[in-house]
Symmetry: D2
Subunit: 367 residues, 4 copies
């Protein structure tokens, strides 16, 4: 089946290589009558766009998205939406060495072992450039969610870079757009800048942790047992390049809690909806949303393209060593923030549509 | 689509509630000619079976699996394999209170909010009993893997319970079958027994971390971009009841590594296959297996059915409190070990079949 | 993927062999709150049940269906519904010869060539007995449709047996339940009885054409381009054993019409809904329902198990001949009538749920 | 799920409207290492291209296909192949009237009723132009089939136009490329030209029957019960615009045969493969290929855009009449021939990959 697609009713198929003529996303299953235009999608792509500061790759391209189908007179028609982004700044020469050698920690070797052929230019299909298509598709998902779930808000931000975590007591949402790391902790932003600058100058890179939160969701989203909301979110985030771990709510730390500590107590709110004393569950119980904030975190490993010499082998199996020159992110986790938001938007829209289809949306009131 | 199914070519659909007449798994896409019988599957079910020691629920049932279709004269025929386990020890009366009240931290409330009706007996569909069907299906997957990938070995074990982690220096695979926690650290096993006994007596529960490792895999398994091996493993593990986090290789700790530290250096082995200086990647690069051990960890939250009083509400929305009597696991993570193994087996078989179908299995040699 | 499943949101997986312990259907995606019980499903199974008259196989079994999951206190819960039918009258000895020889016109040889193993008893998985599971699942679909689309009516009947067609001028729906052929033409029923009796006595068999009509559908059902309502109906009917052709509306005869003749003219009805001057389209335009009757026909080939001597080969490739003794249908098309109704019900429910999920059901009014 | 996609392992998603900037196909699951280039695909598109003679629409465009991804240095890489065809000759003004009125027999009204919005220009998504994307994707499928099943040949041709059928005794494959109808009967070609010219001048249109045959297939392709080879072929052909009926082998005529007549007798061939005395089955038994020619026929209804006045209604529900001016096919069935071939190629490749994945391709020898 389609291994380059995700989603059930709202289904996104991304295509394209880093240095081919173009890449994009085929978006199927978007409801009709949603206001969508290129400017709206460009807003999200610009957020992800490389070359905006010294902490992201200096590759510079407009990443301009074109809508080729599925939108008529400013509204979606319910037919497939084709989103295309042309590759304009390719500099293939930068990548000649990796045609023969495999970068340690990179997908070079496994793509070769699986397919026996690969477009090695800039990582080809395994390049983080593929995530531009996700962000464009996420823009469509956001537009549809705004129409179907008024008041929903999806926000991503960095909570850790290397060993340095944010101080939750300094959490200030207003700061997120004010620094190159999309972090809510202004103090951390200053410290990280210095830390990352040193790494960058030394030709090294580092990992990060991104958190994405969705507010304003209704209860009841998620399809047990194998289409749980957290199952789909885990798959969506783990499918992002370089992600090695995914957490919902307490995440791995849930192991350290007792049942007494972990059980979010339930009360009735003034609006007749249940409220909870805490949110260890990250807004999901039994794979279904509770109506609380949905909280997801994922860890991004450090960029494997670095200026440090590493031992490797060639396609012929000969021992060699490699230094990856060219333009790279000292912390690819930074650009993963808008990608995580996009994946959250796609998964949530999908489950809104699934719930509407299978349940009808008019059941399960309390009281 | 089928939200109670997982897998692409090897597809498992589980069905059944905790206190219905039976539960089971419909297994579709198993290759023909694989030797399978009920005793073979029962071996894995017995490993998961409750009531084996004081650290798991005292509910006692044989969990005897019957093969109703798809196996003829001891071999799979390539047609659907129906695996049925009858529920024999139900004691519905134990569960009468939760018909009206929602257990904090449990799926009671979200199932109600989504469906407007639920089989509340023993948690119904959201009960951990559903995992018995996964273990049975995993037994079929193991049998097929043994036939297709001779020498493959899948082993799960506990590495943390509450705040107490194993000491990796004391790792001894031979210990895993020797203690009620399936832990490779004999010293930890002793300490955990005392710790957990105290929790059990106080009517409390605690979380845990389970690690599952697959050895002897070929390189090349995994289907980028959205059917990556790690994506499917993350979804499979996150779909297990009570799981809140999933890690591949370094997992969340990858955030703290530099590119230099994280890049597993590559050399040629004597057998003409690549070997690596380390396995930070957990055996997966770009979503495709490297041939190293595939290493997955997941965190299981504490059981929410506890003897501690918690604040909650009723179906009518009235404030109330609840103490869950009855037979419960102080650490449901223990029984999650064979479940994690089963999910690993199903995902790996699925990707072996996918690779054979889409690539043909004869490409990508190095040297 | 699951090759024994059909449907998108309402997904049915059938399992089981003719002479195994049982067969059944795993029904996933049924909305919650639908009144379903075993008696309701048994009604449809009894209609299909063999041995009711001399024109169907004399194999006699109750074909009693059991609901093992997904229904609680008489209502569906939104979780998988497991429907099991035990095989009670098996007489394996009747089928010993076909273990070695392939019946011409039967799936014996292709199952062997594909799988290299087959449960040859009674045709195993390729037996028409599999359709009992479809009829049970169709009963669930009918119950859900009645709840979601009040007034919908699905009726199947025979319009041709061998060379003998019904006279449309004698069409009387009241006759359908009055004869062993479920034909609306009482005169044909009498003629067919004599004709078929002769064939039966001579040990021969014959084909038939079945028509299934759905009345009372809303406009707008169907999901272009590849999930069209007619596409899914064609697949559903062609998947029934022995079906070799499927028609929508005019069907193959559409080739003979001019554009002027074929274009069903459109007018407004008194109820503010469009009405049409004719229904050449069979209620479907561009893969989407028009609100007219949906009309599907399919041809069933003659039973290949006959008492006539035919040339064949053995598993060893030796020339041989075969006469299939045992209990067989002179016209398997008769029992295909309730099966066609069941497939229609499943496809329609699926598209009602899809439309509700992707469109929301509140668009596209005319005037 | 993706309603604009078809196929299991080889999955094609088409996108685009008749008068948007472009349309195309996203092709996922093509094996790596297959030689593919634009010229190879253009060959098949040119065969379908309109405006080649007076019997097809005079709309003239190059229909030039561009490969945007998935092919590197002339070979497929196993990643998604994006095929784009730009729309160059659009003349939107020709289509202004149908913005308000619904053409009888056309999808205009149902798209409006389903989506509440439609790109009415040239039929938008429901235009036969969408089939250009299928033909491009079919070209990729043909290339992969040639590599995997050497000697396979897929040929489509017209066997009926209006009431006029070919004479099977005059069947001459060499004639197919020699006339504008792709018919194997030279005499029919002459008669049809005169007949169709008269229809064209009167502003009318007519239906047709297309037959597509695949030679050189192995036995064993097809995935019972719901992914049968004939099931998937029926769905593929019924999904083509204007198709109202699909037949395999004897098709609807199977109803008139006795079991004795229908049973293709089996013998052993000199090459150790089974041979058959006839092919009533159309090369498929129990949904699995026998190794004989796979024979599929489908009926195409007449074009609904005609110069004859028909009664209809407007979007406002007012009575009206319509004459569709502009450039149309007097027999759209002609251009359906290469489309039918393309669908056959896609379905067969898909089942070759499925068989390889689930069975491994090395079982089921006879003798």
């Amino acid at each position: 089946m389609s291994m380059n697609s995700f989603g059930h009713l709202f289904r996104v198929t991304t295509w394209g290589e880093s240095h081919g003529p173009a890449l994009g996303a085929t978006v199927d299953g978007c409801p009709p009558g949603v206001a969508v235009d290129e400017a709206m999608l460009q807003h999200w792509l610009d957020k992800r766009k490389p070359g905006q500061n010294k902490f992201t790759t200096q590759r510079r391209e407009p990443d301009a998205v074109r809508i080729l189908s599925g939108v008529f007179e400013g509204q979606t028609t319910g037919t497939p939406i084709q989103l295309m982004i042309e590759n304009t700044d390719q500099r293939s020469k930068d990548y000649s060495e990796i045609a023969e050698k495999f970068r340690p920690g990179h997908a070079d070797i496994t793509y070769w072992q699986k397919y026996g052929i690969r477009d090695y230019r800039g990582g080809g299909r395994s390049s983080a450039r593929e995530t531009a298509a996700r962000v464009a598709a996420g823009g469509v998902a956001r537009a549809a969610l705004d129409a179907l779930v008024p008041g929903i808000a999806i926000t991503g931000y960095m909570v850790q870079i290397g060993p340095h975590k944010v101080d939750r007591d300094r959490f200030d949402a207003a700061q997120i757009e004010q620094n190159p790391f999309w972090t809510p902790d202004a103090v951390a932003a200053t410290e990280w800048a210095e830390y990352l600058d040193g790494l960058r100058k030394s030709g090294n890179s580092v990992g990060a942790v991104v958190e994405v939160v969705a507010k304003g969701l209704p209860a009841g989203l998620g399809a047990p047992i194998y289409g749980k909301l957290d199952t789909d979110l885990a798959a969506a985030m783990m499918s992002i390049n370089a992600v090695k771990g995914v957490e919902i709510g307490e995440g791995m730390a849930a192991a350290e809690l007792t049942g007494e500590e972990n059980a979010d107590e339930i009360f009735m709110g003034n609006d007749g909806q249940p409220v909870y004393s805490s949110n260890h569950a990250g807004g999901i119980l039994g794979g279904i949303s509770t109506g609380q904030d949905v909280v997801v975190r994922f860890a991004v490993k450090p960029t494997s393209s670095i200026l440090k010499t590493r031992q490797t082998i060639t396609k012929s199996g000969d021992a060699s060593e490699i230094i990856t020159k060219g333009r790279h992110d000292p912390c690819v986790g930074i650009r993963a923030v808008p990608v995580g938001e996009a994946m959250m938007a796609c998964v949530l829209l999908d489950h809104v549509l699934l719930h509407r289809g299978q349940i009808g949306g008019n059941r399960g009131a309390i009281g």
